[in-house]
Every structure is written in structure tokens, then in C-alpha cells.
């Protein structure tokens, strides 16, 4: 298991996590957090993306709790997700991760929508 260290970063450089249904540049966002298929991590500096399987997608219970802990462990600053559940929300809040709720769209569009909004 990864370290749970969460290092706050400058606002200009962020790691964003997007819940997705599939992998690749055309991947669409998944409204679920705990039971989404993949997480897309993107670095706002390099704009490099990385996809990771959600290890908790089929957990019998508490998928949201573990998914949120995983995302925090990966050092994400922002989570883009349609509708995270109450348990995962409290983990995110404790970890200081900003939650951005967006309707379903392509993951890269969601990132752009967030960044456009965040700059203004």
C-alpha cells in the first residue's frame, strides 16, 4: 500500500484526479467515486495523464472510503467526480482535497472546464 503522505502544493501546480469509465484520451467521466472503473491522474504542470484501475470498484462495502484514501495517498489536490458519497466526502475533506462535481463528459473536457473556472 502506498504511503498516506499528502503534501500540499502550490495552486499553480496541481494533481487532479478524475473518475472515469474507460482509459485513454477519449475517456469519459464516471459519476461514481467508490465504484468507478478508473482514476485518471493529471499533472497541471506537464499535462501528463496516468490511468489507474480502481482497486475498490467491486468491494462489498466501503468502496468510497477506500477509494478516497487511495486518491489522497496518490497526492491528488483536486477530485473531479459527478457524485461522490458522504463517506468519501468526509475523507476528502479531512485530506484537504477539493471536490469538483461536474456532469458526465470527456475526462479531458472536465479538466479543462475546471481549470478555466479555477483561473478566473
Amino acid at each position: 500500500m502506498l504511503a498516506y503522505r499528502h503534501v500540499p502544493k502550490k495552486v499553480s501546480k496541481m494533481k487532479i484526479c478524475v473518475t472515469t469509465k474507460d482509459k485513454g484520451p477519449e475517456a469519459g467521466t464516471d459519476p461514481h467515486l467508490g465504484r468507478c472503473m478508473y482514476f485518471m491522474f493529471i499533472d497541471t504542470d506537464s499535462l501528463q495523464t496516468e490511468f489507474a484501475d480502481n482497486p475498490y470498484a467491486t468491494a462489498s462495502q466501503g468502496a468510497g472510503v477506500q477509494a478516497a484514501q487511495y486518491i489522497a495517498g496518490r497526492g491528488a489536490d483536486v477530485l473531479i467526480c459527478g457524485n461522490p458519497g458522504p463517506n468519501s466526502m468526509s475523507v476528502m475533506e479531512a485530506a484537504g482535497i477539493k471536490i469538483v462535481k461536474l456532469p458526465e463528459m470527456k475526462a479531458m473536457e472536465a479538466v479543462q472546464a475546471f481549470l478555466a473556472n479555477n483561473d478566473s
Binding site: 500500500m1 503522505r5 466501503g62 472510503v65 477506500q66 478516497a68 484514501q69 475523507v91
Partner: protein, 281 residues
């Protein structure tokens, strides 16, 4: 003898069978294990008294001793713990009280405290000669099984014990029917009733419980349930007809054997059949 009354589908008549069977026999203890919505007493109207609270052990985490190493969350198979740099977050509604986290913690940061999730009640008087016990799961609590296990701790083996199970085939049902000498599966003669009966039969076979079927609302639906039972050599113990008088009495909260006493004989016949099938009395 311990007789469990179960069903795959909800609303088929478990409580109807449990209460009417209990009222037809002597020296009965009735356990209402449907702790999310105990309803036997709607038909008995016994004054109830609380016997005990039921709690589960949940971890209490010392912030001073915890190093956020994450071992507790790794040990938790119910995902009730999240570990962040800032400390551990417990989700008590996900906790099953197994205690694995406190064993996994090498820093001695976890102690266990009791969290009350419900209670056990019993009839204060024995209006109809039935001793009723029921479990009550507090509103908002998700885990029925600890209440059911505590409830079953009150079983009196000197009596005929009737266990009214919750519907379905999940943990609370398994907790309710485990240890029974016989399991009566109540169904209705519809495709939906048959589908869920088949799930329930799979369960009782897994638990190696002798079982038979009571068909309620007989005369509606189709022959699917009867065909299935005869193909699989499952005894059909009783057929309760789709009868307006039974429905009317039910809607008034009156067990129908009290107004239609010939049904007491039928329930007694069924009980004798179970005694023969199980060799228990």
C-alpha cells in the same frame, strides 16, 4: 424443536404463518428475528418490556499513539477505516465490530468501546400462552445480525421455538435460521414467488437444513411453485388459500386461527408432520 420460518421474497406470509402456528401449539416461544421491522406483536398485542441493549465493539483510536501507519485500515475487510496523514477516520456504520484493527495495530492506539445498535424485548405477560421475544434494530443502524444472535441467546429449548426470519437470503436470514431443526419456506404461487423460493432453497440446502414449503395465497398465480416442489421432492406442508376472510382478519391485526379455529387443526397437523420429518418433539 426449533422451527424457522423464512422466505426468499418479502410479503409472502412469514409472520402470518409464524403467529398462527404459534397460536395453534402449546408451550411456544416465538422469536421475531425481523429486527428491522418486527411485526409479530402487531398480531399479538403483548405489552413488551426491554430485556437488554445490544451493542457492537467499535474501535476508539488514540490520536497520541496513532502514527497513521495504515495497518488498521489494511486489516479492515469492511473498509470502515480511512487513514490519512492527519489520522484515522472511522465510519462506525461500516464497522462489523470484528476487532481485527486492534489486533493489527502495533502501537496500542486502538481500544474498543461498545456502541449500542438496538435492543431485545420480551412479552411482559403471556396473553395467549406465547412467550414472545423480539429484536429491535435502532433506526439508521445497518447491521441486523448482532441483534439476531443476541435474540437467539434467549432460546428456551424446553419449548417449541418458532423463529420468524427476515426475508431474503442475506446475513440476517442466515443468522436467523442457522441452528433450526426445520425451515419452513413461505411462498406465493407466482413467478416472482418461485424465483425467490429457489434462492431460499439454495440457501437452506447450503446450510443443510431440512425444509418444506407453505404456499400462501393459494389459488392465485400459476402451478410453477407446485411443479418445482414436486420435481425437487420438497414437501408442500400447507396451502393457505387466497381467502377474503383471512385477508380481512389480517388487515384488522387478528391472527386467523383465532376466528377460524379449524385452521388450528391444520397447523397442528403440519407440526406433527414436522415432528415426523425431523424426529424431534
Amino acid at each position: 424443536m426449533r422451527i424457522a420460518i423464512a422466505s426468499g421474497k418479502g410479503g409472502t406470509g412469514k409472520t402470518t404463518v409464524s403467529v398462527n402456528l404459534a397460536l395453534s401449539l402449546e408451550n411456544v416461544q416465538l422469536l421475531d428475528c425481523d429486527v428491522e421491522e418486527p411485526n409479530c406483536n402487531l398480531f399479538l398485542g403483548h405489552p413488551l418490556q426491554k430485556v437488554e441493549d445490544v451493542g457492537i465493539q467499535v474501535p476508539a483510536i488514540s490520536k497520541d499513539k496513532c502514527t497513521s501507519c495504515g495497518k488498521c485500515a489494511e486489516a479492515c475487510r469492511f473498509n470502515a477505516l480511512a487513514v490519512l496523514l492527519t489520522g484515522v477516520i472511522l465510519f462506525p456504520k461500516l464497522c462489523h465490530g470484528c476487532g481485527a484493527c486492534s489486533i493489527a495495530c502495533t502501537k496500542g492506539a486502538i481500544s474498543e468501546t461498545i456502541q449500542v445498535i438496538g435492543s431485545i424485548e420480551r412479552s411482559a405477560s403471556h396473553t395467549h400462552g406465547i412467550e414472545l421475544y423480539q429484536g429491535v434494530l435502532n433506526i439508521g443502524e445497518p447491521m441486523a445480525s448482532p441483534i439476531i444472535r443476541t435474540l437467539k441467546g434467549h432460546i428456551d429449548n424446553s419449548r417449541t421455538v418458532i423463529i420468524d426470519s427476515p426475508p431474503g437470503t442475506s446475513c440476517p436470514v442466515i443468522s436467523s435460521i442457522t441452528g433450526a431443526d426445520y425451515c419452513i419456506l413461505v411462498t406465493e404461487p407466482t413467478p416472482f414467488g418461485l424465483h425467490d423460493l429457489m434462492l431460499a432453497v439454495d440457501l437452506v440446502k447450503d446450510l443443510q437444513l431440512p425444509h418444506g414449503v407453505i404456499i400462501n395465497r393459494y389459488g392465485t398465480g400459476n402451478d410453477g411453485v407446485e411443479d418445482y416442489c414436486s420435481e425437487n421432492s420438497i414437501p408442500v406442508l400447507m396451502k393457505i388459500p387466497y381467502d377474503i376472510r383471512i385477508a380481512q382478519l389480517y388487515s384488522e391485526g387478528t391472527p386467523f386461527v383465532l376466528r377460524m379455529p379449524h385452521w388450528k387443526d391444520r397447523f397442528q397437523d403440519t407440526f406433527r408432520q414436522l415432528q415426523e420429518l425431523t424426529g424431534r418433539f
